[in-house]
């Protein structure tokens, strides 16, 4: 471990003298996405005496929300890219560009992959999801350049986009959504609509087949009626029981095998099953499901005290795995962490989620809910929530598309601005 091990992250990075900081409480946040970036910022907004360190390996973050608009040809990847400069400059967060290998709950230390380590009083871990390369025959890390999942935005998004651009007119795109639970439940279906938007303009004889592990999906009635209205029969969806369930991926033949036979694709977007991001596994924060059990009143791990897990990786009661869920949980958890550091009973409040999905650049639908604690479980607030009305006219869909962009502008500012 060496000399760094006993030194705080701030000192390690900024070289501040020790006495100045001796009394400050250290909170480390692992992961700079919707959960982590928001948690770091709100910890500092609510308690400027806290020393907050954000550990994130990437220099730039590409948001998964709106990455389907890149596939649809409506946004450029540079429009969904964010850096961490504002968080350090305006909020005094110590951003370390490094990979955290694991947390040691008993010694309250974060160990980086380069061997350095530092101490914390409490940690918030927001690791997101990892793809499972161990579950599907024929699917492994070695084929992601040929069959990109594009379920983490960035290079993979561009790769899938390139394949769509290069595909022949009349080609078949296979989209294979994962089984529950996974990041962004309506995401694969938004993707289908936006790829159809691109194909309709440039390769109108093409088809999109959705081969689904599931029997039903989020906002299903709204998606299927909208697809028909916008794209006729370009998109076809097959549930697990009707040939959607995939048994094997064959990258060599560019095909998948289902219970009903072989389906070939000119482009295959196989989205694998998922579980909590790697550091959660390395730190022993997951249960047998591969996700992180938490006390839903504080998001503190029920396995390792002192470590809070938020966002997609956490088992968060009725809340779906979405960017806004993570943002809402981040603020809720920041409050709990500050209270707990001050030896107070954590105050709780309500949580919320809204997910917009585009079917075309000027056509969007939404699902929204408010959540609160019922005992020790997060449940949907009675009477709240639901999806966009099924019988709304195009002006309502267009208004939701405008608000979806407004949502994106606000939440990215709330995270990184």
């Amino acid at each position: 471990m060496g000399a760094f091990s006993a030194v705080s992250a701030l000192e390690a990075v900024a070289g501040y003298p020790t006495p100045l900081l001796a009394a400050k409480q250290q909170v480390v946040v692992i992961g700079g996405g919707f959960g982590g970036a928001t948690a770091a910022k709100y910890l500092r907004l609510m308690d400027s005496n806290l020393q907050v360190t954000l550990v994130e390996p990437k220099r730039y973050y590409y948001t998964c929300p709106f990455s389907n608009l890149v596939l649809g040809g409506y946004k450029d990847l540079s429009e969904i890219r964010y850096g961490y400069d504002n968080l350090s400059r305006y909020y005094g967060i110590h951003v370390i560009q490094a990979t955290a290998a694991r947390l040691n709950a008993s010694s309250k230390k974060v160990i980086l992959t380069d061997g350095k380590s530092f101490s914390y009083n409490r940690a918030i871990v927001s690791p997101g999801v990892d793809m499972r390369f161990d579950k599907m025959e024929g699917y492994n890390y070695g084929i992601v350049n040929k069959i990109p999942h594009a379920w983490k935005a960035g290079r993979s998004t561009l790769l899938l986009k390139k394949q769509l651009v290069e595909m022949r007119d009349g080609g078949t795109v296979l989209i294979c959504p994962p089984d529950q639970p996974y990041r962004c439940p309506p995401g694969p279906y938004e993707r289908a609509g936006l790829i159809a938007h691109f194909l309709k303009q440039h390769k109108p004889r093409s088809k999109i087949l959705i081969l689904d592990a599931k029997e039903q999906f989020a906002k299903q009635a709204l998606f299927t009626s909208g697809w028909e209205q916008l794209y006729g029969h370009m998109i076809e969806w097959f549930p697990g029981s009707a040939g959607g369930k995939i048994l094997r991926v064959d990258a060599g033949e560019m095909a998948v095998e289902t219970e009903f036979g072989i389906e070939e694709g000119d482009v295959i977007n196989f989205i694998p099953d998922q579980w909590a991001g790697q550091i959660a596994h390395e730190s022993g924060l997951v249960d047998e499901s591969g996700w992180c059990p938490v006390d839903q009143r504080t998001f503190e791990s029920t396995i390792h005290p002192g470590i809070h897990i938020i966002g997609d990786a956490a088992i968060a009661g009725a809340m779906p795995k979405s960017g806004l869920s993570a943002s809402s949980q981040a603020k809720f958890t920041a409050v709990a962490v500050i209270d707990m550091l001050n030896n107070k009973n954590p105050e709780t409040t309500s949580l919320a989620n809204t997910c917009y999905s585009f079917l075309a650049p000027e056509y969007a639908i939404s699902v929204a809910s408010v959540y609160h604690l019922s005992g020790s479980k997060i449940v949907k607030a009675e009477g709240s929530g639901g999806v966009s009305p099924i019988n709304a006219n195009l002006s309502v869909r267009r208004a939701e598309a405008i608000y979806a962009q407004g949502w994106y502008d606000s939440i990215t500012q709330d995270m990184f601005g």
Binding site: D47, K331, V335, S366, S369, S384, S410, G417
Partner: protein, 108 residues
Amino acid sequence: MRIKSLLCTLAILTAIIAGVPMSLHPAGKEGLLLSLSCTSCHGTYGLSPGAIPTLYGKSRKYLIKTLIEFRNGDRDSTIMERIAKGYTENDIRLIANYFSSLTKKKKK
């Protein structure tokens, strides 16, 4: 867009510098805590950079009236009716107290 986000950053900075830490806000902690869900879509401190309406500094009366109307289905909305139904009248009053108490001027 860049100018807008710059203005927004400046406005937030003003709020931070002029104000007390968020959690010690005079409007009370309960309202602040409830408002945390609002700000993910309406912007930090309710200062929206885009199409979602700003809540920062709006009058208490207006916020209460609007949220109650959303909640009762008496006001056209896309998602706000579905969201407002998740809050009690008391929650709505606390949220309105919080956002209406935010101003760009330094409070004494």
